[in-house]
Symmetry: C2
């Protein structure tokens, strides 16, 4: 699909192995982890920032559309070409250098193509890690571009909080390389251009190098499964744990009965941790200390058990049961939820984000709406209660898996209730990819769209998979 002249020119810019045109070799770059992929005209694999700059400049000058791609683990269709076969993929998978760690500084500087697992393996001997806890193994460039969150957001925050510096290549005719800060923790000597690239999903340029702050690894961890009286008991329980566990609280993950049941039924390696049957709702709570056990200090699991025991004894009856056990076993259920849902039927997934106070009320209203209008879809939600994130996932009947109109109606109904009704975000932690184009057009305020497009235009031709749209005349 790619003109031979362009093919030769790009191949020369990236060197041997740097340009893939063969359909069989392209497949890995066209096939994302969890949604249907597209077709690429070719795959460019620059090995240095200079090569990224060269191919980006070439593409912009010749009007070739391209999509930047990290590890292709995203869920928002931000990293894959569409079905047209006319887009190129700009893979950063050869950009695996540098990989520099400064233990005293507690920072790491890595190429945009370095994987999270690679970084963490290199940090491990220093007792350090990047505490963004995900079910996938993305690249650092991709994590910055999507501003990923994760299950320990409550304690550590998102990728934005960890990015201390970026090197980016702008999608302009020159392939301009911008250095945005030098790994300083504090820097107010210029306006915050760097922040545009974090979560920008390629709208402002391609991230070729990332400096992150990293943390000391936990030395003690304890976890429990809590059974709250009902959904309304969850916010006060969270508040109680925030007060009693303070900065040792690292996860507070809510799971609905439907989600847990599907995991238990469909994931063979998982056993039911609940002796008395799966409850309507459960919360995985985790505490961690980064310091080793000290003399005179109760072990962390005792502290957790004491907090839970106090709550079980309270008159308010917010907590009705608590299960303790090895940390891995406690997390096993939470980690199996996605797999359980996918194994049980076609999933319509949402990555919603609410103010914490709205979580229970939204869920109640959504259940009523679903019962009335979509009774054939089962709500199997779970999420990060403490940061307001909800994977509001619905599993439909297998025979309706390919009914795009009904799926679209369901999406529209859920998003309208969440965004219009509760001021929620339709993309909590998965970034802004093509999967959200309709939601962006429909729900993002017109003024925000216009200014976003105008700012993106400052940085050159947009390389984002989501169209921010041509700016309308501002003022």
């Amino acid at each position: 699909m790619l003109d031979q002249v362009h093919q030769d020119a790009l191949a020369a810019l990236v060197g041997p192995g740097g340009l893939i045109t063969d359909p069989a070799d392209r497949a890995a770059y066209e096939t994302p982890a969890r949604y249907a992929g597209g077709t690429a005209a070719a795959v460019m694999r620059p090995a240095t920032t200079t090569q990224v700059s060269a191919v980006v400049g070439y593409c912009v000058r010749h009007g070739l559309r391209f999509t930047p791609q990290g590890a292709n683990t995203g869920l928002a269709e931000g990293s894959t070409p569409d079905a047209s076969g006319t887009h190129l993929v700009l893979s950063l998978d050869r950009l695996t250098g540098p990989l520099e760690i400064d233990p005293g500084d507690r920072t790491a500087t890595v190429g945009g193509g370095v994987r999270l697992s690679t970084l963490n393996a290199a940090l491990e001997p220093h007792g350090l890690f990047l505490p963004i806890d995900l079910g996938a193994d993305p690249t650092l460039g991709g994590m910055a571009a999507t501003n990923t969150g994760g299950a320990r957001f409550l304690r550590y925050g998102d990728m934005r909080r960890h990015v201390l510096g970026l090197e980016v290549v702008l999608a302009d005719a020159a392939g301009t390389v911008l250095q945005l800060s030098h790994g300083l923790r504090k820097d107010n000597a210029a306006v915050a251009l760097r922040q545009l690239f974090v979560g920008g999903c390629g709208a402002f340029g391609i991230i070729t190098q990332v400096t992150v702050e990293v943390h000391h690894r936990p030395r003690q961890t304890a976890a429990a499964l809590l059974v709250p009286r009902d959904l309304d008991a969850v916010p006060p329980l969270l508040q109680a744990f925030e007060v009693e566990a303070g900065s040792t609280l690292t996860a507070f993950e809510g799971m609905s009965r439907a989600a847990m049941t599907r995991a238990i039924d469909h994931v063979p390696s998982l056993s039911n941790p609940f002796a008395g049957g799966v409850p309507d709702y459960a919360v995985l709570v985790e505490l961690t200390r980064t310091w080793a056990p000290r003399e005179g200090e109760a072990p962390l699991d005792e502290m957790l058990q004491q907090i839970a025991a106090d709550l079980l004894e309270r008159d308010d009856g917010l907590l009705i049961d608590a299960l303790f056990g090895p940390v891995d076993r406690m997390w096993a259920l939470r980690h199996a939820l996605s797999e359980g849902l996918r194994a049980s039927g076609p999933v319509v997934g949402f990555d919603l984000s609410f103010r914490r106070r709205d979580l229970a009320r939204f869920r109640r209203e959504a259940v009523l709406m679903l019962e009335a209008d979509f009774p054939d879809y089962a709500l199997c939600d779970f999420g990060h209660v403490a940061d307001g994130g909800v994977h509001f996932n619905l599993v439909g009947p297998a025979d309706k898996a390919n009914d795009p109109e009904r799926r679209a109606a369901l999406r529209e109904a859920v998003l309208t209730l969440a965004v219009d009704g509760f001021g929620a975000s339709f993309s909590g932690e998965h970034g802004l990819g093509r999967a959200f184009q309709d939601a962006y057009d429909r729900f993002t305020p017109r003024l925000v769209q216009d200014y976003s497009a105008a700012v993106a235009a400052v940085f050159g031709t947009s390389s984002a998979s989501v169209r921010l749209g041509p700016p309308t005349e501002i003022n």
Copy 2:
């Protein structure tokens, strides 16, 4: 100085008491806390966002320059008019509503003119606080506009980390009001326009409302004064405390002998805490727990003493002494440093920010440079070792207080070494005001300046006190 037509029009827009032209009444708005002020043509005091929009639009349409002002506590000359008498001040001191607190959500939404002390007083009954620890009492709008840090950055981060939503008025002919997010902890449904306004110092618009995440107040605090062997011992001591105290470590503040001595000599309320004389360097370390003392858990001061005792016993000799006492008494020295310096002579102050690893090496090279070229200036530095921040303050002889050329040469020499030599920032946590115009022009990379100016231009006429400059042609 203000044309009567404009005066009448602006007075009508802001209502009674909203426009100040009388020189005596203007003085408070022309006189900042710590530097020489300027002269305002008039002071506008809108009481609502609608009024802010109206006066901003009027000023832009009629070419009237204005400077937004919060509590006027800044140190970077970002909130005061220059000496020309032609600029208006746009004070947000009547924008003290709303003041809404949601304890379960752990968020507060306040008018841009609400003071930090007012917010914290309102949060106190809920056991909450905004943990940005400053020596001043700024407005929340000002704190967001300058992205303030503070003495507990190590644990809680800067203002950027806490801002969950902003309402801003753009400095354009329409006085456009933008709502940027709704207080969500996670939101990747749009590009991060909000981040431009945090630390933007008015370059993109005026902050009229702020939603912040707040935290549970500490329930236990312990502090100590540590005497390290020498400056090179400080980074490994910090690392040891990060490992041993983990998330309970909330401050690690370095103080030079010269700074401590001036505080002890010039602040009458302060007594010398060091029995054996003031050491060359000391570190104030603070641990906090947000949870109440639990059965079976050693008190926090015992934990701190144990960590220090272990370090004192170690063969490496990094720590040579440690003083314990009431938390207030431990902090008293640190809090008296600025006052001590100002009382001892004219101060040339710097708010530098380094990679942690560069702190000791920069100081050594700076001392050599100062001894050679500025022997009449005494280095009285102190700073936030854990975040790389240094208040690299120099006290000069009284008779040279008004030698602007020599002060400029000193500034140039220090900044050249710090920024060019070590990749430091010339504004760690004080924002980007007119005081840094020369540094911005000289040290901020040309490309970053150009893109910053182009992005600012998208949002209308700049209202910043620092000139980002007309963008040169990009590409």
